[in-house]
């Protein structure tokens, strides 16, 4: 009886957990399109409200609809306005605004229009106030993208990540994740390995359910023993 209730409790708890995971994994979020591959180990620019830092030209290998930056507001909460323009003509393609944050954060501005692929663009970040905001980036030489702060050329660059315009769920990304996980692995590892392991994990969950139900059955067999047994022997 107890072992049956144990099995039911295990199955219900597992199913509830998996249902919550499936719900969470089906939420649509913007995936990473590409990044400038710059670490954020250096304060690249400090922007009071209204000051502008522009980075470009950036060749966009694929379309993007949001821009993420790594910021540290200095003292009071601060936001960023982001404008993406054509690097050659200066025409504004899209713009967006991040929420005001406190403390070191990765902030994302969703653009009001997607930026098409294969474009040379400039991304400008403008202090949105009320506080000053420090942009995380890299001082590394050799960055092909030029950074200008308040019109003056500055060494290094601001670390930026471009996110896809199209939102995707985690579940829809699973095949991509598995394919990427097969790279830089031993030669015998392929997508099949991870799908097989996923099946093995399903079997592992089942095995754990049986293990705990069997243990509860053993407990049941011991009957109504004293709740506090003496120190035992394994």
């Amino acid at each position: 009886m107890i072992s049956r209730r144990t099995g039911v409790a295990f199955s219900v708890a597992l199913l509830i957990g998996i249902a919550l995971l499936a719900w969470s994994g089906s939420k649509y979020e913007p995936a990473r399109a590409f990044s400038l591959e710059l670490p954020f180990d250096h304060p690249s620019a400090t922007l009071p409200a209204g000051r502008r830092a522009c980075e470009g030209p950036i060749q966009s290998p694929m379309a993007f609809g949001a821009v993420r930056a790594f910021v540290l507001p200095a003292g009071s909460p601060a936001a960023l306005e982001i404008i993406v323009s054509d690097a050659d003509t200066g025409r504004v393609i899209a713009r967006g605004q991040t929420p005001a944050v406190v403390g070191f954060s990765a902030v994302t501005a969703t653009l009001n229009a997607p930026v098409p692929p294969s474009r040379r663009v400039t991304v400008c970040l403008i202090g949105g106030g009320p506080g000053r905001i420090v942009l995380g980036g890299s001082s590394a030489a050799g960055n092909p993208v030029r950074l200008r702060v308040a019109g003056r050329s500055v060494p290094g660059g601001v670390s930026l990540v471009m996110l896809e315009a199209r939102r995707q769920s985690f579940i829809s990304l699973l095949p991509t994740i598995i394919n990427r996980a097969t790279l830089f692995r031993p030669g015998w590892v392929g997508a099949w390995t991870f799908w097989t392991l996923a099946l093995a994990l399903a079997g592992a969950a089942l095995a754990l359910g049986v293990a705990v139900a069997r243990a509860a059955f053993d407990e049941e067999l011991r009957g109504q023993e004293a709740p506090s047994p003496p120190a035992g022997r394994a």
């Binding site: 107890i2 409790a9 708890a13 985690f170 790279l183 093995a200 592992a204 754990l208 293990a211």
Partner: protein
Amino acid sequence: MPLSLALLLAAVAAFGLMWALFVPPFETPDETSHFAYTESLVERQSLPGDSHRPEFSTAQTVADRAADASRAKDFLPAISPSWSAGGFRAYQTTARRGLSTSDGGGINPADPNPPLFYLYSAVGYVAGSAGNEFDRLYDMRIWSVPLLVITTLSAWLLAGEVFGRRRLAQVVCAGVTGLVPMEAFISASVNPDALLLALSGLALWLGARVVLRGCRRRDAVALCLLTAAAILTKATGYALVPAVLAALVLGRRRIAGNEREPALPQLGLPIVALLLPVLVWAAITTTLGRSLVNVIQPSARAHSFSVGGFLSYLWQFYLPPLPFQTPLHETAGLPVIDLWLRGVWGDFGWLSVPLPGLIYGLLTLVTLVVAIPVLGLLARIRDRERLELLAFFAIALVALLALLHVTDYRSLIDTGTALVQGRYLLPLLPLFGLAAALLIHRLPLNRRGPVGATMIAGLVVLQIVALATVGKAFYT
């Protein structure tokens, strides 16, 4: 072997294998250094630390660059680790031409570590030696998975020693130990912690056995050998020594006076088993001019150790700072939450891939729900045998915490940077499993199975959340 145990170990091994293969190369704490240590042992038959050589071999450097591993480790949100199939093929072509695996062996953050884990890991390295660095790395990781299984088994044995053959208590204790995601993540990586966790688990089991059954020579020698092996794996192993000595003394008292051997023959052999391997290693390090344990190099702005400062540090680790204290800011929040709690449950990559904040909130709640009633139960123990067992566990806990806190404080005052991580508490995870088992054991009979089942199912879900978190961080 009991069916429950066989199924549990098989399930833990399956999760371990997934962790070993799914985590990107060199994206576990200090894996680059631990891999380089083993590579130096196998390829040069020499310990690393030669100041005239590069830290990594050419083969490792090329592999690391191809996968963008080192660049991504600290700045994962901004750096995409390479997942270009073309990049991987180009790496394979380069690797087939032959890259030196023996030109590393330079100064390495891991080189003060004793060699025991690296000798174990060398088996995995050699198994992959026909391939490239990724073959070797992943073979080493897979070879670490049995250590996770041993750690889980040790928790089963520990619960058996404490509760008797109560399978439910054993399943819960072993399940909690083997299925906490951080335990699986670390045990399935190239890291001496994997071996330390297995040895510590076995030492806790044998220590409990000695305390409860008496200091039989065979058990005592095995306990001391395990402790010596832990010390030869990582300096944190020294934290086991006070508890092991306490177990020997308590175990000796357990044996009736007429059966008790004289102290010297009874304790002499175990003490020799503990000391001899450590002294041999100490002699080797002295001969080679190496340090016996990791040494913190003080900066020019180092402060001297003060008891008041240390107490203030301890207070601020566990509680908010008082108005008159100089804030230490070891972490953004309370270190006990940010380091101990989050770090024990799960913080992946190079501790740069945390679980979602909501999950940590739930896990804090779960930890308190287990810990608070268990503390209440422990406070009511009056039985001498149980109190002695409790003393053994308490000494193990306090010794590890003391070692970690003193080292962390020294690091803070000497270099300004914190040193402790939550994973350093994992050797005591079987005790948390034991606490969960005790809680289950004190429930009415008809509730034990369902509550234990809910715990284990919750851990399975947590494993999936953790794997998904890693997948999202590295591969999307």
